[in-house]
C-alpha cells in the first residue's frame, strides 16, 4: 500500500523536476493521442452518418419487407385485404414495430396557389423504424389517424411557405383529396442538404385513405415492413411468409425478405473504413511511443547516480522499476487527457463535421469509446515506453553509481 502510494509520490516529484524534458516528450504523445482520438471520433461520426443514411433509406436491421402478387396476372392483392392479413400475422408473432409506406402526391393550398407535395404515406411506427428526425414539434402519435383534421409532418420548405407558424398554435393548412380538407401540422423535419427547397411531407396511411378519392384508394399498393430482432429474423421470415400466404389464399405468391443494409453488405459495411482508421491511428501512436522511449531512456541514463542513491536508502529493485515505469505511465496518461481534450475540440468543430459528414442531421455526442480509447492507448504507450528505461534502471549497479 505505502509502496504504491510512495511510487506515485516519487513519480510525481520526478516529473516536476524534469519538467521541460518531460513536457517535450509529452507534446508528442498528446499530439498522437489527439490524432488517434480525433480519427476514431470522426470515424464514429461518419459511421453514424452513413448508418443513419442507410437506415432512413431501407430501415433498421432487421427490417422485413412483405410483398405478394398473382403469379399469373402479376397483380397485387387489394390493400385492404393485404393490410388485414399483415396486421393479423404480425400480431400473432408479437412484432411490435410494423408500418406500411407508399409515395404519392397531395395538393397543398399555399398562398400562391395549389401545389403538389411529395407525400410519404406511413403508419405511426415508421418514424422510429426509419429514424425520422424532427426539428420542431413531434412525430405522429397513436390515435392521430382518427383525427377529423388529418395530422401532417412537413419539411422546413413547406413550413416556411406557410409563413413559419408556431406549432403550439396548431397551424392548419388546406389539402385537396376527394374534397378540401383542413389538416393540422404537428411536426417539422429538417430539409435534407441534398434536397433543399423541395417540399415534402408525411401523412398517416389511414388519414390519407380517409381523404383520398375512390380512384386513389383503389390504386394504392403500399409496402409492408416489420422491424424485428436480428437474431430471430430468419425464423420470422419463414413464419410470416407461410402465414400470410395462408391468409391471402394459395394462388398468390408471397415473399418476405430483409431489405436493411446489413443484409446487403454482410456483417459490417463499414469494416474497411474502420480498418483504415485503426491502422493509421496505431501508426501515429507508435511514433509517439518511440519518442517517449527515447526521452525516457535519456532521462534514466542521466539519473543513474540518483537511482544508486535511492537504492542505498532502501529502494528495492522492484520499487525502482515501478517508479520509473510509473513516471512514464503518469506522464503519458496526463498527455492522453490533453490529447483527448484537443480531439473533442477538433471533432466537435462545426466546420470539421460539415466537411466529414455533410448531411448528418443528428451529430452524435463525442463518442465516449473514442475518449476511453485515447486514454487507454496513452496509458498503454506510457507503460510500453517505460518498460525499457525501467529495465535499465533496475540494472544500475549501486556501487558504481555512487562511487564518485
Amino acid at each position: 500500500m505505502t509502496g504504491i502510494v510512495g511510487a506515485f509520490v516519487e513519480a510525481w516529484a520526478e516529473l516536476r523536476i524534469h519538467k521541460t524534458r518531460v513536457l517535450l516528450s509529452l507534446i508528442g504523445v498528446a499530439v498522437a493521442v489527439a490524432a488517434l482520438t480525433s480519427v476514431v471520433g470522426l470515424g464514429a461520426i461518419t459511421q453514424q452518418a452513413t448508418t443513419e443514411n442507410y437506415e432512413r433509406q431501407s430501415g433498421r436491421p432487421a427490417t422485413l419487407i412483405v410483398s405478394a402478387y398473382d403469379p399469373v396476372t402479376g397483380a397485387a392483392p387489394p390493400a385492404a385485404a393485404f393490410s388485414a392479413a399483415f396486421t393479423e400475422v404480425t400480431d400473432r408473432y408479437s412484432v411490435s414495430w410494423t408500418t406500411r409506406s407508399t409515395y404519392t402526391q397531395v395538393f397543398v393550398d399555399f398562398v400562391d396557389g395549389l401545389t403538389p407535395v411529395d407525400t410519404t404515406v406511413v403508419d405511426v411506427d415508421y418514424g422510429t423504424m426509419h429514424r425520422v428526425q424532427l426539428s420542431q414539434g413531434s412525430w405522429f402519435a397513436d390515435g392521430d389517424e382518427e383525427r377529423l383534421a388529418p395530422a401532417l409532418v412537413v419539411n422546413e420548405t413547406v413550413w416556411k411557405r406557410l409563413g413559419s407558424p408556431d406549432l403550439r398554435t396548431h397551424p392548419t393548412v388546406t389539402v385537396q383529396g376527394a374534397g378540401n380538407v383542413t389538416a393540422v401540422i404537428v411536426g417539422v423535419t429538417p430539409d435534407l442538404p441534398y434536397n433543399q427547397d423541395y417540399p415534402t411531407m408525411y401523412m398517416l396511411y389511414d388519414s390519407y385513405m380517409a381523404i383520398a378519392t375512390p380512384q386513389q384508394v383503389q390504386s394504392i399498393y403500399p409496402q409492408y415492413e416489420a422491424w424485428v430482432p436480428v437474431g430471430i429474423s430468419d425464423d420470422l421470415t419463414a413464419l410470416i411468409q407461410r402465414d400470410i400466404a395462408g391468409a391471402l389464399g394459395d394462388d398468390l405468391q408471397v415473399s418476405v425478405s430483409r431489405q436493411d443494409y446489413l443484409v446487403y453488405q454482410g456483417e459490417d459495411p463499414l469494416l474497411p473504413i474502420k480498418l483504415l482508421v485503426g491502422g493509421v491511428s496505431i501508426l501515429v501512436l507508435l511514433l509517439g511511443a518511440l519518442g517517449l522511449v527515447n526521452i525516457s531512456l535519456v532521462t534514466v541514463r542521466q539519473r543513474i547516480r540518483e537511482i544508486g542513491i535511492r537504492r542505498s536508502f532502501g529502494a528495492t529493485a522492484g520499487r525502482v522499476f515501478f517508479a520509473v515505469m510509473m513516471e512514464s505511465v503518469v506522464a503519458a496518461a496526463a498527455a492522453g487527457v490533453v490529447g483527448v481534450f484537443i480531439a473533442v475540440v477538433v471533432v466537435k468543430n462545426p466546420a470539421v463535421i460539415n466537411f466529414i459528414a455533410a448531411g448528418i442531421t443528428d451529430v452524435p455526442a463525442f463518442p465516449i469509446e473514442a475518449a476511453l480509447l485515447g486514454l487507454g492507448a496513452a496509458t498503454f504507450v506510457g507503460a510500453l515506453a517505460g518498460l525499457l528505461p525501467a529495465l535499465v534502471a533496475v540494472r544500475v549497479k549501486v556501487i558504481d553509481a555512487i562511487r564518485y
Binding site: M1, G3, R310, S312, F313, T316
Partner: protein
C-alpha cells in the same frame, strides 16, 4: 566491544575483482570485524586501500567473494536481494563524501527520501519526521532550500538528517569531511557523533584524516586490504600535517 549480540560481524571477508587479461585484484584479504549497537568505529587507510569496498560490504550493497557477513545475526548470503534492500533501508544510513543529495529537490524532500521506502507511520508522517530531523541538525530554516543553494557544511548536515530519519542502527560515513574545510569538517563530525550517540546507533567512519578518526572509540587501519586494530595514540601521533596514513 559490548553487548551480547553484535549488529554486524565480518569473518574472513575477502573481496576479489576479476580483471580482464590480468591477475585477479584482491581488494580485501580476510577482514574480521565486529560492531555492536552504540559502537563508534573509525577505519583509516590510504586512498586505494579498499575502504569504500569494505563500506559497500558493511552496507549490504555488495557480497564478499569469500568469508561471511552476518547482519543482526543473519548471514547476508542467506538473504534475498529484496530482504537486503529492505534491511538496508530500515537499519543502515549512508553519509557520503560528496553528500550525494538529490538535485532539484529541497532539503526537506531530500531528508524525506528514505521515508518513501518505509511503511506505516514512518511513511505517512514522513514530512514531519524529516522536519524534526532537519531541526536536529540545525537546518529547519533551510528546509525549502535547494542543495545548490546550501554551503558544503549545510549539505552534509542535510545528508546526516537524511541518513537518520528512519532511525537506523548502523550509520556508515565514507569520508564525511573529505569535501569540507577543517573547521566545518570538525563541526559536522561533532554533530554526527552526537546525533549517532543519542540515537544509540553504531557509527562507522571511514576517513584518511587522523583527527576525525580520533573521535571514535575503536580504531582500525586498512592497509592493502588487511584490517587491523590500531592504538588511538598512534593514530593521533600520525595526525601530523606532514604524515599521511
Amino acid at each position: 566491544m559490548s553487548e551480547a549480540r553484535p549488529l554486524l560481524e565480518l569473518e574472513g571477508v575477502t573481496r576479489t575483482v576479476e580483471l580482464p587479461d590480468d591477475e585477479p585484484l584482491h581488494i580485501l584479504r580476510g577482514v574480521n570485524l565486529t560492531v555492536s549497537v552504540g559502537d563508534h568505529v573509525s577505519i583509516v587507510g590510504r586512498s586505494g586501500s579498499g575502504k569504500s569496498t569494505l563500506l559497500n560490504l558493511l552496507g549490504l550493497l555488495d557480497n564478499p567473494t569469500k568469508g561471511e557477513i552476518r547482519f543482526d545475526g543473519k548471514r547476508i548470503a542467506d538473504m534475498s536481494a529484496n530482504q537486503r534492500d529492505r534491511a538496508r533501508g530500515r537499519d543502515v544510513g549512508f553519509i557520503f563524501q560528496q553528500f550525494n543529495l538529490l538535485g532539484g529537490r529541497t532539503a526537506l524532500e531530500n531528508a524525506m527520501t528514505p521515508l518513501l521506502y518505509a511503511s506505516g507511520r514512518q511513511f505517512w508522517r514522513r514530512e514531519q519526521i524529516a522536519l524534526e530531523m532537519l531541526d536536529r541538525v540545525g537546518l529547519s530554516h533551510r528546509a525549502q532550500s535547494m542543495p545548490e543553494k546550501l554551503s558544503g557544511g549545510e549539505q552534509q548536515r542535510v545528508a546526516i538528517a537524511r541518513a537518520l530519519v528512519r532511525g537506523p542502527r548502523l550509520i556508515l560515513a565514507d569520508e564525511p569531511t573529505g569535501a569540507l574545510d577543517v573547521e566545518t569538517g570538525a563541526s559536522v563530525m561533532a554533530l554526527l557523533d552526537e546525533v549517532a550517540h543519542s540515537s544509540g546507533a553504531a557509527l562507522i567512519t571511514i576517513t584518511h584524516d587522523a583527527n576525525i578518526a580520533a573521535l571514535a572509540r575503536q580504531h582500525y587501519r586498512l592497509d592493502r586490504g588487511v584490517l587491523a586494530p590500531v592504538d588511538v595514540n598512534r593514530v593521533l601521533a600520525l595526525a601530523q600535517p606532514e604524515v599521511t596514513l
